[in-house]
């Protein structure tokens, strides 16, 4: 009975230690689990990029911060890699203050794999506050929202931007988002007002809320959390941080499931002992001992 009670009320510090080991262990010693199954949402983004004519222009908006980077940054790398493999042109912008710096890092991490020329193959317009208002402005003219790029170079001096006036000249938008402003703003403005294809990459905790946009066709695809990143890495055949993280996520999920099973076994065992219910049955503190 004592063990069952302990099982029903395991100290949370024990849970923290076990989860810590479950996450860190597979990062240190990879388990080499089979690759993730690619969802239709990730496949849709990949197919759309593949189907674009070479040299198409894609907007990639870095709307996340370092907190969400472990999940979203691998998506950014995989998606940019795919764009440059297909020789598409990329316009980078940010609706989050730290997004511009994360974009600088992302480009630097993959630039050695490609012969990229700034201003020709990609531009970084930097951060602009205003959220949906900024998207609305670039719908009519990029220069209205971003008179110059992150290096203060006027847009008309950048060869890539001389061919792109507004969102209508862009083939698709990929929003890498961790909150607001993010995917809803792009869907409501870039898709609804300017009929651009919008795809999104977001944290696992945010991904479920965008399924209505997927079903209605307002979003063409979505990458959700580290698994989404791993899926895209698999599609572009370049395993990276997302794929490496899936071992940890697998073990962590398994550990959580085991804890939940423990809790329920203990719950039912205690409820059988105390049929009337009460704190013990609920897994709470044991009832006070009879005098």
């Amino acid at each position: 009975m004592g063990f069952i009670r302990w099982l029903a009320n395991i100290d949370r510090r024990i849970i923290f230690v076990v989860i810590g080991l479950a996450v860190a262990g597979p990062l240190l010693v990879p388990l080499n689990l089979p690759p993730v199954t690619v969802t239709s949402q990730a496949r849709a983004i990949y197919d759309a990029v593949e189907a674009l004519p070479t040299g198409s222009t894609i907007v990639v908006s870095f709307d996340y911060d370092p907190a969400a980077a472990p999940e979203v940054h691998p998506m950014a790398l995989a998606f940019l890699r795919h764009c440059f493999i297909k020789k598409h042109k990329v316009i980078i912008m940010a609706l989050w203050p730290q997004g511009a710096q994360l974009a600088v890092r992302a480009i630097s991490e993959i630039s050695s794999e490609f012969d990229l020329k700034y201003g020709v193959d990609y531009v970084n317009l930097g951060y602009k506050p205003g959220g949906a208002i900024v998207i609305n402005l670039i719908g009519t003219s990029f220069a209205k929202a971003f008179p110059s790029d992150i290096n203060q170079t006027p847009l008309n001096q950048l060869p890539l931007m001389s061919k792109v006036n507004n969102l209508k000249d862009v083939a698709m938008v990929m929003d890498l988002s961790a909150g607001d402003p993010g995917i809803p703003a792009w869907v409501m403005v870039a898709n609804a007002l300017f009929q651009r294809k919008v795809a999104g990459g977001t944290t696992a905790v945010s991904a479920p809320q965008f399924f209505p946009y997927l079903q209605s066709g307002q979003m063409m695809g979505q990458l959700g959390g580290m698994k989404g990143a791993a899926e895209y890495e698999r599609l572009v055949k370049h395993p990276g941080l997302g794929s490496r993280g899936m071992d940890s996520q697998s073990v962590a999920h398994a550990v959580i499931i085991v804890f939940i099973i423990f809790a329920n076994v203990a719950y039912f065992a205690l409820r059988r002992k105390t049929p009337s219910g009460g704190p013990a049955a609920a897994g709470g503190a044991p009832p006070p001992a009879a005098p």
Partner: protein, 261 residues
């Protein structure tokens, strides 16, 4: 007038942004209003930064609870602002760069009138060349700003978000108990989604296992049907709330943004 003026501004700006969908002649005015929004948002960031400094300064001055954290906050704030605006970097000239410095002045440095790239202010002899402090190097990879961002900001922010995993695990253990039918449904759904979300979920499935009983397939259906229906209901409810709140602001009924109760 302190109350009426913001209400008039909100009413006129809101009306222009709504009417521009129906009156094309208002598009130019609407674009101007939208540009003002960007300017106001930029000022809001400045006001927020000033307020952050003020609140934490007062905390230190009056030695309120946890005031040492405010010292750390202000120190971090000052270091990032100074390094970011000045574009400070260390370059080893005549040898290998430590760290490499590339890039052009940022908007921030230009706005602040910071010296341009190549303004050497100090030189120290070193075996591999002179270590030079340069200003106006921007925020490119390899600069001091980027170093602070990558090796301090990045891991610390990631750590804070990663704590969620520990709390979710602890909360799941305590909350997911099959007390009622609804709780059991939630429990089963959580099991399937957690298994379907990772390779381990399909690892054990034998070849003869029916596809409609695999965690992958079941997870997709839960997300596409049950989750989508629920999320859509929330979305429609929230959107109706946004519409009604917007109307209340335009009509001057909702005044909480003016600091009123």
């Amino acid at each position: 007038m302190r109350r009426e003026l913001p209400m008039i501004v909100a009413f006129v700006a809101g009306l222009i942004l709504i009417l521009q969908f129906f009156i094309p002649a208002l598009r130019d005015v609407s674009e101007s209003v939208q540009n003002w929004v960007i300017v106001v948002a930029a000022f809001a960031i400045a006001v927020g930064a000033f307020n952050l400094l003020r609140v934490n300064y007062m905390k230190i001055r009056f030695r309120r609870a946890d005031w040492p954290f405010s010292v750390v906050l202000i120190a971090g704030f000052v270091v990032m602002v100074v390094v970011g605006l000045s574009g400070l970097d260390f370059v080893r000239e005549g040898g290998s760069a430590v760290p490499a410095a590339v890039g052009a002045p940022t908007a921030a440095t230009a706005a602040a009138g910071a010296p341009t790239a190549g303004t050497a202010v100090a030189v120290a002899a070193a075996p591999r060349g002179a270590l030079t402090v340069k200003l106006g190097q921007g925020i490119e990879v390899g600069t001091v700003f980027d170093w602070l961002f990558t090796y301090l900001m990045f891991p610390m922010s990631g750590t804070m978000f990663a704590l969620l995993a520990f709390f979710v695990a602890s909360a799941a253990y305590r909350a997911f108990r099959a007390r009622t039918v609804e709780a059991t449904l939630l429990l089963v759904s959580a099991f399937i989604v957690m298994l379907g979300q990772v390779p381990l979920g399909s690892f054990w499935v034998p070849a003869w296992w029916p596809f409609f009983l695999t965690p992958d397939w079941l997870k997709d259906k839960i997300m596409e049907i049950g989750n989508t229906a629920g999320q859509r209901a929330i979305l429609i409810g929230a959107s109706l709330g946004v519409v009604s709140t917007s109307l209340r602001i335009l009509l001057g009924i909702e005044r909480s943004y003016l600091g009123e109760e």
